[in-house]
């Protein structure tokens, strides 16, 4: 099957790649662009480890085709920090020990950032339901939820 040329913006940088029409956006990010921060845990949209944003909308990149990225702005875990400065979520995840193996962490950070971008003061229940599509098998979610709430609190105070 012939490949299709795709131009997009990933984490603010213009990129071009050739996508097989069967390839997922996740595979294109990982295999064509070398952005291996996004993970595949299931390939069926159930685990959220591949979470990215497409034009600001949170999606499972395993359920989006690479060719659908044409002209779109993609945000991945590699783009969360502002150069040398970590996003408060990233810092709070380290401080709260909110990761063990760390495999689900990129997807959870992308999803949590999407939450805080639209809701600066989520309740614990809102955080838990928002992250219900992101599976973590190590932590039992306790420290993840605390880290997200603490990051939100710090970001509110900084405004």
């Amino acid at each position: 099957m012939s490949k299709i040329h795709v131009s997009a913006v990933v984490n603010g940088d213009p990129v071009d790649f050739l996508a097989d029409p069967r390839e997922s956006l996740l595979d294109c990010l990982r295999d064509q662009l070398g952005l291996t921060g996004s993970k595949e845990g299931c390939g069926t949209g159930d685990c959220g480890a591949c979470s990215v944003t497409v034009d600001g909308v949170l999606v499972c990149s395993c359920l989006v085709l690479g060719v659908e990225a044409e002209g779109k702005a993609i945000g991945t875990v590699e783009g969360i920090s502002d150069g040398g400065t970590l996003h408060p979520l990233q810092r709070k995840f380290i401080e709260h020990a909110a990761l063990q193996c760390g495999f689900c962490t990129p997807g959870i950070l992308v999803a949590a950032k999407a939450l805080l971008d639209q809701n600066a003061s989520p309740t614990e229940t809102e955080v838990r339901y928002w992250l219900a599509g992101n599976l973590c098998r190590c932590t039992g979610y306790d420290k993840i939820v605390r880290a997200v709430m603490d990051a939100a609190s710090e970001m509110r105070e900084a405004v």
């Binding site: 097989d20 069967r22 390839e23 595979d27 990982r30 295999d31 070398g34 952005l35 291996t36 921060g37 996004s38 993970k39 595949e40 845990g41 299931c42 390939g43 069926t44 159930d46 685990c47 480890a49 991945t76 875990v77 590699e78 969360i80 970590l86 990233q90 810092r91 995840f93 380290i94 401080e95 709260h96 020990a97 990761l99 063990q100 193996c101 760390g102 495999f103 689900c104 962490t105 990129p106 950070l109 955080v127 838990r128 339901y129 992250l131 219900a132 599509g133 992101n134 599976l135 973590c136 098998r137 190590c138 932590t139 039992g140 979610y141 306790d142 420290k143 993840i144 939820v145 605390r146």
Partner: protein, 750 residues
Amino acid sequence: MAKDERSTEFRLIGTRPNRPDGLDKVTGRARYGADMTLPGMLFAAVVRSPHAHARILKIDASAALALEGVKAVVTRADFPTGLTGEDWNLQENSMAGDVALYDGHAVAAVAATSRLLAEDAAKLIKVDYEVLTHVIDVDDAIRPDAPVVRVGAADHSVPAGSPPNVVKCIDFGHGDIEAGFAAADLVREHTYKTEATHQGYIEPHACVAQLGADGKGEMWVCTQGQWYIRRMCAAVLGIDASGLRVTPSEIGGGFGGKTIIFMEPLALALSRKAGGRPVKLVMSRSDVLRATGPTASASMDVKLGMTKDGKLTAAKVNFRMQGGAFLGASPVGEALSCALACYDIPAVQHDGVEVLANRPKAAAYRAPGSPMAAFAVESLLDEMCHELGLDPLDVRLKNAVREGVKASYGPTYAKIGLVEVLEATKAHPNLLAKLGPNQGRGIASGFWFNHGGETSVSLAIGEDGTVTVSAGTPDVGGSRASLALMVAETLGIEYEAVRVNIVETGALGVNEPSHGSRATFATGKAAVEAARQAIGEMCRRAAKEWGIEEEAVVWKDGAAMPAGPNAGQFPPMTIAEIGAKMGGNGGPISGHHETNAEGVGASFGAHVVDVEVDPETGRTTILRYLVVQDAGRAIHPAYVEGQYQGGAVQGIGWALNEEYVYGANGRLQNAVFLDYRIPVASDLPMIDTVIVEVPNPGHPYGVRGVGETGITPPLPAIANAVAMATGARLRSLPLSPPKVLAAIKAKGRG
């Protein structure tokens, strides 16, 4: 870095610094199994049996090989013959021989220049099967007329005339069992069942493997144990262990399931056949669920005798477990040994059998065998407490094992902390919360042995006095942080001055995997010894420079100094100064320690859960959850809490949702995360934890190991809570809504 109140005798032990791999893991830089790419790399795909049991008549790969870009196809014919015992089991499980033994059993594998091409090629490999009768359920498999999974698989423990799928028998015990039951005021006996569950690590198995015709190769792989992978792959492929260099990637969860090989030998065999080009093989989630892990399923009889004031007088357990189509894969021995380990009972008898079924080869899963056993024993114990009107926590305390007691499984306990755990549980405010309608509270204890094992650690002093530790146990939950804390504490330097690397197989002697809750215990113990050895050498260097006797130099606060006024007047020589001078003062300074780590301390825990059961749907909601467990010493309390919380939530999943669902055709029906439903954030409350510290005298800082015990109590604790909430006692897991609803309705009719 706030120091927790509980640890005051140490400078760093018991604090919560940031983990050294944290930055890599929050920025996406950390490299896991599937994140490696090598020049000239090929991609592999695997053909798997769609049948639970089928003779393989013919494999035709000609159409696949005809595709441009397809470089190699391997079948069992590409592996050596004549293997025996566990080596044969591993080879057979990696790639079927004459017969596919379960749905998902690998039959052939292909390597091509792209992943999509490899997947296309796999679809073109034609396999002719003769479908055979199969058996899935453990109680069905044990019947004398069951379909025979494999002839001649039983070991010497099985008496003649046993049912054909029984492959191992175990029995042990002590005390006068009949007299024990005769002394009881209440004797009760019930049968319990648990279904197979999967470890459910989010990272699928992945490797990049390279093997030349000379038998030399390399592998990058997500594993809990690089030396285990090396030995197993070498045996399965018929190459020398030292010819294979295995580098562990960051690991995206293992829980026991990444201690053995699955598809790794296929990637090596493909590479060898494709002229030594590296081959990447990444499993899909469905392959992971069908062909790796899972844990065993169990059918268990328990009989307990109790006096009217709650003293246990006798206990008899009889367990049947299937661990797939392979002898030795079920944890029936561990299950029996853990079953009664929390209690001091005068007479105990354990009997168990392992049974083959047409399922994947079971792998270790967090405290293998203990959760099932606890479900059976702790459920019956709870039932009897209620029947006698006794407080279930007081009864557990009354019968709790302590130092000097002969364990149900044989040895005499050294210093242990079950009594302290139960007392801390009793004092927790969660027990004062008022329960409403349809709510119940469940309590259960749990146990795991913990493990020492083969361990080798090296430590090197840098030219600037910073320290590198080379460890062989992959970091599954923060062990680099705990190792750095212990080494820094011992050396008297800052935590940040120690870097811990998890190294490849060529860098150290053999290390067992990160299993058995051993990494912080055994690798930590060896790292402390290595640091002490380096301290000895640094003191010698200072003595040499000062021209005094070695014995006149001591190590304090990260520096060598004269032992007293008589030793001479010299300012302290810091580790940085010693490091800077070492090149001209005797050469590199390192410490090294290898051991078969002894002094393991068992870890006991108790959980208390409050649930609410919806009487209209049977759905159980966890309202409150408390984990209390003896850590010995919490080196990094945040990661100890993390182990407690993670173990508890895996247990919650096992109790409420998770199970392998097979169709009548023997195919796994729920091989995706949508249908194999592990707990999600919205299912759960915060998981409260209490770290009890009864230091283990067998470790320099008192560590016991904390990873596994926490998955054991949730199964019975939740069943006990549901029984209190509904009045219906369920003796088969999971407590899925339809089962709970049916039990509520049956009770109403009764």
